[in-house]
């Protein structure tokens, strides 16, 4: 049986990138150290900050909320009901239970109640990919609620795998503008609040393990709208590299932050955005509504479109295997 590198007790997890195994106590300690290092290296949070954690019911956001509360931060949760059929029902129930069990404050926003559409409908009506419509809506609502409720910082559960996959995609396309914007902290300014990603030094596997060790119930099944997306393919590719050379994924992303970001920061600054004439949020031009308001305009009030109807053939097959062939709404 594997032994913990720190104490010699039976291990609960092997971490090839650290070339070591850890017992539950020392694994938790390692995760806390990585979280604290990210927070301090990138000046993410001050002890007195009011933090709003974007929670989805998945492992990363619930682990992040748990970790920040354990570290003594004043952290409340924000859950957005996206209207993705049974998946949203389950993730909402799990998030509510997590908050209630720990007596934490949870703010809930139902996107259909507040904005008159849901994600499958937005994707179906506009022709945007579901993940794009979802990301756009979440970013807008996160900003809006953090501002309205007076939070200092919005924290999201993006982990090292998420960031490495985004970096991989941006690099494959040599998208310099996106590469320049890819940072673990986005400072407040130009109408945006401060946003931080405290899990950037921790992998997806470590976050799943954190939840199991800490007894956190989370949504294990994949979002039906994300099945087969490009982001997952990038993660598979990076994991294949890591299997032959452990630590490749971490050094790809952390090396980017350490050595490439300073170079990109020296290049031309992004123009300050204008304000959306409809909602006041940052927009590309002053004479046109922001992307979210344009999405609301197209999708709001439209007859709801079932999840299954907006999936491609491959994703629909995976959806049927997971959720049955009913429409899921």
């Amino acid at each position: 049986m594997s032994k913990c590198r720190s104490c010699g007790e039976p291990a609960v997890i092997d971490l090839p990138r650290h070339n070591a195994n850890f017992c539950s106590e020392h694994f938790i300690q390692l995760c806390r150290r990585q979280l604290s290092k990210a927070i301090s290296d990138f000046d993410m949070l001050k002890p007195e900050d009011r933090v709003l954690v974007a929670v989805s019911g998945g492992k990363d956001s619930l682990a992040l909320w748990d970790m920040l509360v354990e570290e003594g931060y004043q952290a409340d949760g924000l859950y957005i009901g996206l209207g993705i059929g049974e998946y949203s029902d389950e993730s909402g129930a799990i998030t509510r239970k997590f908050a209630a069990d720990r007596q934490l404050k949870l703010i809930e926003i139902d996107i259909r109640d507040e904005h008159g559409f849901d994600i499958p409908t937005a994707a179906g009506v506009t022709g945007r990919s579901p993940c794009s419509a979802c990301g756009l809506s979440k970013r807008h609502i996160f900003d809006e609620v953090a501002k309205r409720e007076g939070y200092d910082v919005l924290a999201t559960g993006h982990n090292l795998d998420d960031e490495a996959a985004v970096l991989f995609g941006n690099t494959l396309r040599w998208d310099v503008e996106y590469l320049r914007r890819q940072a673990p902290v986005l400072s407040a300014g130009s109408g945006f609040g401060k946003k931080v990603k405290p899990l950037v030094r921790l992998t997806e596997r470590e976050m799943a393990a954190w939840c199991v060790v800490r007894g956190i119930d989370y949504v294990v099944e994949e979002c039906p709208m994300a099945l087969g997306n490009k982001h997952l393919a990038y993660k598979d590719a990076l994991n294949a590299l890591d299997a032959t050379s452990p630590g490749t994924k971490a050094s790809f992303y952390l090396g980017f932050l350490d050595r490439m970001r300073p170079v990109l920061e020296q290049s031309a600054a992004i123009d300050a955005p204008s304000s959306c004439p409809t909602c006041g949020a940052p927009a590309a031009t002053a004479d046109q509504a922001c992307a979210f308001c344009r999405l609301v305009d197209s999708a709001s009030g439209h007859e709801p479109i079932p999840v299954r109807m907006v999936l491609n053939k491959k994703a629909r097959k995976m959806f049927d295997a997971q959720w049955g062939s009913q429409d899921g709404n």
């Binding site: 291990a11 539950s24 990363d60 598979d236």
Partner: protein, 64 residues
Amino acid sequence: MIVRLRQPSREVEVRGDRPARAILLELGFAPEAYIVICNGTLVPSDTILREPDSVELRPVISGG
């Protein structure tokens, strides 16, 4: 032995008395993308799994 899988949730029968890592590879799963839960406890992937262990091989990758 019966092993629980996810995405989608299902059960498969595999040969036991082997490390979890060998079972993951046989099923075509990347060990870096899974955690192993044996009898309700997290275990390293070199743990030998055998009857009557209750085993879940849980994927950790999400696409959001």
